[in-house]
Every structure is written in structure tokens, then in C-alpha cells.
């Protein structure tokens, strides 16, 4: 029971408080529309408010009487306000009675209305159920058809897909085939290229090796030749000295001055060192000098030469240069 009144009470209090503030602040509320509520609690709250407002009014009146008796204008205005307020309150009281009356009528109306609504709802409910049944059936049918169609489409799609897939597969295979062929070709080309390169390299290497081998052989031959030459040269040099000595011993220099004279004579030898031919190839310009040279060579014959036929070749032809130093 207590809970039943708590909310209206509070509402009533709040209502009266607002009224008081409005009165005090002299604020116009007329224009404010108050949304009517179907809830009956609102009446009770109004009652409580009246007493309170009165109390408040009293209080205010008192205060004004006590405190501001001197101010006639004000008192007048207050009196006017009070009269106005009193009129308004009377209006308000009347209004509220009307409203209460209207609320009562409304509540009756509402109850009838609710009754019809409940009936109508029931009817609707039933219709809806039927409709639903019908709809379910339709839905079921549609679903079946859908399923069927979907199935057919799926099949069709599947088939198409298979075909496509097959085609794709085929295409892919062919592409693969082509690719492989391409790769094979490329690989083959590369392999051939590599092979050619390798061959080339091999050939080059061979050539290089051959060249190196030949070079080494040449070098060796050269070295051997050099060595042979060196040995030959040594032998040649020693025989050259011996020949020179023998010729110098047989060269009777002309008694005339030989200063600045020189003569070159080419001598051909046969094995054994005998002079076959001695011919002045560069004359000294002095007939006697040249002759002394020729005689010296012929006189020195046979010249001491090596027995070795290999070395003899060096001595087959000699160029003797007679150039007396002085």
C-alpha cells in the first residue's frame, strides 16, 4: 500500500514546488501545454499541492505584511497579484474538475476501446495464423521449387564448371606443354650454347696449351741452341786465337808506314784448314799492304781449325781484318 502512493505523492510535491517557483518568479505558464496523461494518480497529487500552496501563500502574505507594510504600491500590486492569483486558482479549480470529469469519461471510453481492441487482436491473431499457415505452405512450396531449380542450376553450373574446368585443364596442359617445349627449347639452346662455349673454351685451352708447349719447346730448343752456341763460341774463340797467332807470325808488315791502314780479306777454307781462296774484300788502298796481307794468309795455310765438323762450319769462311795498332 505504501508503494502505491509514493510516486503520485512525489509527483504532486514536484508539481506544487514548480507552481510555487512560478508564482514567486511571476512567470507565465499559460502558454505551456501540459500533456494530459491517462494515469489517474495525477488528481491526488493536485490536492496535496493546494494546501501547500496556500500555506505558502499565507506564509508569503505574512512575510509581506510583517516586513513591508510601508510600501503601498507594492502592497497594491501584491494585492492585485493576489486577486489575479485567486482568480487563476479558481479557474484552475474549475478546470481541474472538468478535467477530472473528462478523465472519467475517457477511462470509460478507454475500457470499451480496449475490449474491442482485444477482440480485434484475437481476430487478427487468427487471421495471422492462417496467413502464416498459408505462407508456410507457400514458402515450403517455393522452397521446394527453389531447391529444385537451384539443384538444376547447380548441376548446370557444375557441368559447366566441369566443362570449363576441363577446357581450362586442357588449355593449361597445352600451355604447360608449350611452356615445357619452350623451356626445353630454351634449355636446349642454352645447353648448345654452353656446349659451344665449353668447346670453344676447350679449344682455346688446347690451343693455349699447344702454344705453351710449343713455346716451351722453342725455349728449350733455344736454350739448347744457346748452350751449343756458347760451347761452340768458346771453341771458336780459342781457335780464333790460334788462327790469329799463326797469321800474325806469318804477316810480314810492310816496312812503309802502316798507320791508319786496314784491309779485310775473305778466306775460304777446306777441311784441314787449307786456304782455298783468299780475296781482299776491303782494300787498304795500299797495294803493298794488301799484298802483304794476302801473302800472310797464304803463308799461314793450313790454318789450325777444329776437327769437329760441326765446329768447322764456323771456319769455312773467315773474314780477316788486318789493322795494325800503333
Amino acid at each position: 500500500m505504501k508503494g502505491q502512493y509514493r510516486l503520485p505523492l512525489l509527483l504532486s510535491l514536484a508539481f506544487h514546488a514548480v507552481l510555487a517557483v512560478l508564482l514567486l518568479a511571476n512567470i507565465e505558464f499559460e502558454k505551456k501545454k501540459i500533456v494530459p496523461r491517462p494515469v489517474p494518480d495525477v488528481v491526488q497529487a493536485t490536492v496535496i499541492d493546494e494546501s501547500k500552496v496556500l500555506a505558502e501563500l499565507q506564509k508569503l502574505k505574512q512575510q509581506e505584511i510583517d516586513k513591508k507594510q510601508g510600501e503601498k504600491a507594492k502592497q497594491a500590486r501584491l494585492k492585485k497579484a493576489q486577486r489575479k492569483e485567486e482568480k487563476r486558482l479558481a479557474d484552475l479549480k474549475q478546470k481541474r474538475v472538468q478535467e477530472q470529469k473528462r478523465a472519467k469519461e475517457q477511462a470509460t471510453k478507454n475500457r470499451a476501446k480496449e475490449k474491442a481492441a482485444a477482440l480485434k487482436l484475437e481476430k487478427l491473431k487468427r487471421e495471422k495464423q492462417a496467413e502464416k499457415k498459408k505462407l508456410d505452405k507457400l514458402k515450403k512450396e517455393k522452397q521446394l521449387a527453389n531447391q529444385k531449380r537451384q539443384k538444376a542450376e547447380a548441376e548446370k553450373r557444375r557441368k559447366a564448371e566441369v566443362a570449363r574446368k576441363k577446357k581450362a585443364e586442357k588449355k593449361k596442359i597445352e600451355a604447360e606443354k608449350r611452356r615445357k617445349a619452350e623451356i626445353a627449347k630454351k634449355e636446349k639452346a642454352e645447353a648448345e650454347k654452353a656446349k659451344a662455349l665449353a668447346e670453344k673454351k676447350r679449344q682455346e685451352k688446347l690451343a693455349k696449351e699447344k702454344a705453351e708447349k710449343e713455346r716451351k719447346a722453342r725455349e728449350l730448343a733455344l736454350k739448347q741452341q744457346m748452350e751449343a752456341e756458347r760451347k761452340a763460341q768458346q771453341a771458336v774463340a780459342s781457335f780464333r786465337d790460334v788462327i790469329r797467332q799463326k797469321i800474325q807470325r806469318s804477316w810480314l808488315k810492310p816496312s812503309t808506314s802502316t798507320v791508319g791502314l786496314s784491309c779485310k780479306i775473305r778466306v775460304k777454307l777446306i777441311a784441314g784448314g787449307s786456304v782455298m781462296d783468299a780475296r781482299v774484300v776491303k782494300s787498304s788502298g795500299d797495294q803493298l799492304f794488301d799484298r802483304s796481307v794476302e801473302v800472310a794468309v797464304l803463308k799461314a795455310s793450313p790454318l789450325p781449325i777444329p776437327n769437329d765438323p760441326g765446329l768447322f762450319s764456323y771456319f769455312r769462311t773467315l773474314d780477316l781484318i788486318f789493322i795494325p795498332k800503333e
Binding site: 736454350k223 788462327i243 803493298l288 800472310a296 773467315l318 773474314d319 780477316l320 788486318f322 795498332k325
Partner: protein, 429 residues
């Protein structure tokens, strides 16, 4: 390394691979060239030729020092005909050259001498002549052959057919000495006396044309210079001034005679013009100035002077001027004589206590002593300049000797008779 080898190979060919190996001969021997002179053949009435031409030629060539004649006994064959020569034989004997010849009598006292000179090693004839000769001229013909052979083999004109003049002294115990001016062949043969005197004869000098000899004679106890024509024996006294009349020397053109006169107080060089007879004093002063010799171009005179205290060689322009000293080596240099080519002076040079013949090379100033005697004097060049004839002393006798101009070959001229001195070699004819 390899590159070096190649470089080496690039340079080696000249010595290694070229066809001919080169050998340089810088030295030879000096000395006499061996020559075989086969006795000349003889075709005539007498059993043998009036003169052994080959022997004369061999002696001539040997005397020159340039040749060494093969002794006859060493000859394997004695060909007188070119077709009989086997050169190999002469090569085996080490002979460079071979001379063969023949003497044919073509009439009474008339001969033809034929000779051929061969190169033994080349086997070829170098020269050959055929020359007519009288019996008297045979020896002279032989000398001419020597000249031809000598010139062929040495390149120098031979001087074998030239002559020499010299003075001999014959001393007899019981009489006065006999001084003779003689002229002989260059080999000393055929000596002919052109002047005889009991007083000294000195300093014979050949005129450049070889026809006259100027000399000093002390006949009459007074020196005088005479010029004598050899062929006729006629002579002319060209100078007999008080004091010394000495050391005559012919100008190259034969027109003047330089001489030493002391008429001015001390011995000085004078020049006598033989054509005009004018006399000009060339040197002056208190010193001894003597022994003049004309340069080949006739512009300078070299002479001996002791103006420096000791005798040395000086030179002065013939036209007069400043004397220039030429010798500085040694304390005694005297009796200068120009070589035929004018490039050097032969002189007497004292070395230690020995007086020897030396040659001063004028360009270089090098003095070379040629002889090794103690008392060598009176040098005289052969006209080809190859030898210097001079007087030497051996024992108590004076003799003539010759040395090659390079000092290599020494020869003594053996002459009959007494002491020989003051040689003078004639010019070429």
C-alpha cells in the same frame, strides 16, 4: 729472361750465324822478307857470265835490311825459265818471292839481261824486264834490277844504283898519310878516287843533280871549299877565307852553297850564291855555328850551335831571322841533316859517353836513337830516305855503316883500303 735471350739472339748473328767469322789481326812481324834469287842463267861464249847478276841483286836487297835472300845452297831447284818453276817448292822453303833471270851475250861485250819476279804464294809474276847492257855496265844493270825489285816489293824507290862519296885515309909508316875523296856504287863497289891530298879532305856534299861534289880540303895548310865536277874532275875553289872554310851544303835547287866561315871571328853560317858569287852571313855571335843543312823546300837551315854552352840543333830561316832551338834532349846534338822528305833530322846525339846517330821527328819532337856505336858520326840519308849512311869506328879504323831510317836494320859496308869516313849518299840520278 726469354726476352734477354731473344735480344741476345738478335745481336749474336753478326758473330755466330753470319757466313764469315771475323778475326782481327793487329800485329805482324817486322823484318826481312824472304826472297829467293836464283843464279841467273848464262848464254854466251865464255864458260860463265862476266858477272853474277843474281848475287849482286841478292847482296843489294839483303843490305837494305828489308830482304833476306835464300842462300843458293838451300835451293832445291834453280830454274832460269818461268815454265820450270814449281811454286810449291818455294813455298815449302818459306819464300815469299822468287827472282829468276838470264844473261845472254848478244855480241862482243854486249848483253841482254832478262828477269822475272814472282809472288810464290799467288803463283803470279809481279814484274819482269829485258835490259841490254855493256860489259862495263853489268853491275850497274844489276843495281837497276835491285831497284825495280825493291820498288815492286816495298813501294819505295830503290837507291841501289845511286852512289856514295866518302873520304879514305891511308897511313903509311914512312910517309905522309894519303887523304882520298872517293865515289863508289852504293854497295861500295867500283870505288873511284876523285881527289887525293896529303892534307885532310872533309865534308863531301853532292850537288842536287848528282854531278858535282863540294868538299873541304886543307891542302896548303889552309882550309878551302872546292866544288868538283865528278865526270870531268875539274874543280873550283869557291871559298878560302881566313880561318875556317867548312861544312858546305847545297841548297835544294843547287844554286847556293851554305858553309861555315870564321872570317868574322867566330864560326858562322854563310850563304854563297854560286851564280853571282855573293856571300851573305846568316848567323852572328860569338858562339860556334856550323854544319848547316837545307830543308827540302829551301826555306830553312838547320845547324849546330853552342850558343847555349853545349852544341844543340837550331833552325833559322834562310832569309834570316830568329833562330829556334830544335833539340832539348841530351847535352850534345850536332851535325843535323834533313831527311829527303823534310820531316825529320838525322844528327849526332850523345848518350852517356857514346856518340850515336839519332833522328828527330820534327812534327812530334820525338828523338829516336838509331845506332849503338860509341863514335858514330856524319849521318847521310839515302835519297829514298830508307837508310842512313854514317861513319863508325871499329878498332883503330873508321868504317861506313848504314841503318834503316826506323833503326831496325843495321849494316856495315865492308870496304877495302884504309880508314873510311865522311860518307855522303848521292841523290837519285
Amino acid at each position: 729472361m726469354l726476352r734477354r735471350l731473344f735480344l741476345l739472339l738478335i745481336f749474336l748473328p753478326t758473330s755466330v750465324f753470319s757466313a764469315a767469322l771475323e778475326i782481327e789481326i793487329t800485329e805482324g812481324i817486322e823484318g826481312a822478307a824472304p826472297i829467293a834469287i836464283v843464279p841467273f842463267g848464262w848464254q854466251g861464249m865464255a864458260a860463265e857470265a862476266p858477272l853474277d847478276i843474281g848475287a849482286v841483286v841478292a847482296a843489294d836487297l839483303s843490305r837494305s835490311g828489308r830482304f833476306k835472300a835464300l842462300p843458293e845452297r838451300d835451293m832445291l831447284t834453280k830454274p832460269t825459265d818461268a815454265t820450270k818453276i814449281r811454286f810449291r817448292n818455294w813455298q815449302a822453303l818459306g819464300q815469299d818471292n822468287l827472282l829468276i833471270g838470264q844473261v845472254r851475250e848478244t855480241g862482243a861485250g854486249r848483253f841482254v839481261i832478262q828477269f822475272q819476279l814472282f809472288d810464290v804464294y799467288k803463283g803470279e809474276q809481279l814484274t819482269g824486264y829485258s835490259m841490254p847492257s855493256s860489259a862495263k855496265a853489268l853491275r850497274q844493270t844489276a843495281h837497276r834490277i835491285s831497284d825495280i825489285v825493291y820498288e815492286q816489293l816495298t813501294g819505295q824507290k830503290g837507291a841501289f844504283s845511286t852512289r856514295i862519296a866518302y873520304v879514305t885515309v891511308v897511313r903509311n909508316k914512312n910517309s905522309q898519310p894519303q887523304y882520298r875523296l872517293q865515289v863508289a856504287d852504293a854497295d861500295g863497289f867500283n870505288p873511284q878516287t876523285i881527289t887525293t891530298s896529303s892534307e885532310p879532305i872533309m865534308s863531301p856534299a853532292w850537288s842536287p843533280n848528282g854531278e858535282k861534289i863540294a868538299y873541304v880540303s886543307f891542302e896548303g895548310r889552309h882550309s878551302a871549299i872546292y866544288v868538283q865536277t865528278i865526270s870531268s874532275g875539274k874543280r873550283e875553289r869557291v871559298s878560302s877565307a881566313p880561318g875556317i872554310n867548312g861544312a858546305p851544303a847545297w841548297s835544294p835547287d843547287g844554286s847556293k852553297l851554305s858553309m861555315t866561315l870564321s872570317v868574322g871571328g867566330s864560326p858562322d853560317i854563310y850563304i854563297l850564291d854560286l851564280i853571282t858569287g855573293s856571300l851573305r852571313q846568316l848567323t852572328k855571335g860569338y858562339a860556334i855555328e856550323t854544319e848547316s843543312s837545307w830543308s827540302r823546300d829551301g826555306k830553312m837551315i838547320a845547324y849546330t850551335s853552342d850558343r847555349g854552352g853545349r852544341p844543340q840543333i837550331y833552325q833559322i830561316p834562310v832569309q834570316g831571322g830568329k833562330a829556334k832551338r830544335l833539340t832539348y834532349e841530351g847535352s850534345y846534338n850536332a851535325r843535323p841533316v834533313f831527311s829527303p822528305d823534310g820531316k825529320s833530322l838525322a844528327m849526332i846525339h850523345r848518350q852517356g859517353s857514346a856518340y850515336q846517330i839519332a833522328v828527330l821527328e820534327l812534327d812530334s819532337g820525338i828523338l829516336q836513337v838509331l845506332t849503338n856505336g860509341k863514335l858514330d858520326e856524319s849521318p847521310s840519308f839515302a835519297p829514298n830516305g830508307s837508310m842512313i849512311l854514317y861513319a863508325a869506328k871499329k878498332g883503330e879504323r873508321g868504317l861506313l855503316a848504314a841503318v834503316s831510317a826506323d833503326g831496325r836494320v843495321h849494316q856495315n859496308l865492308v870496304m877495302k883500303g884504309g880508314e873510311v869516313r865522311d860518307p855522303a849518299w848521292s841523290p837519285f840520278k
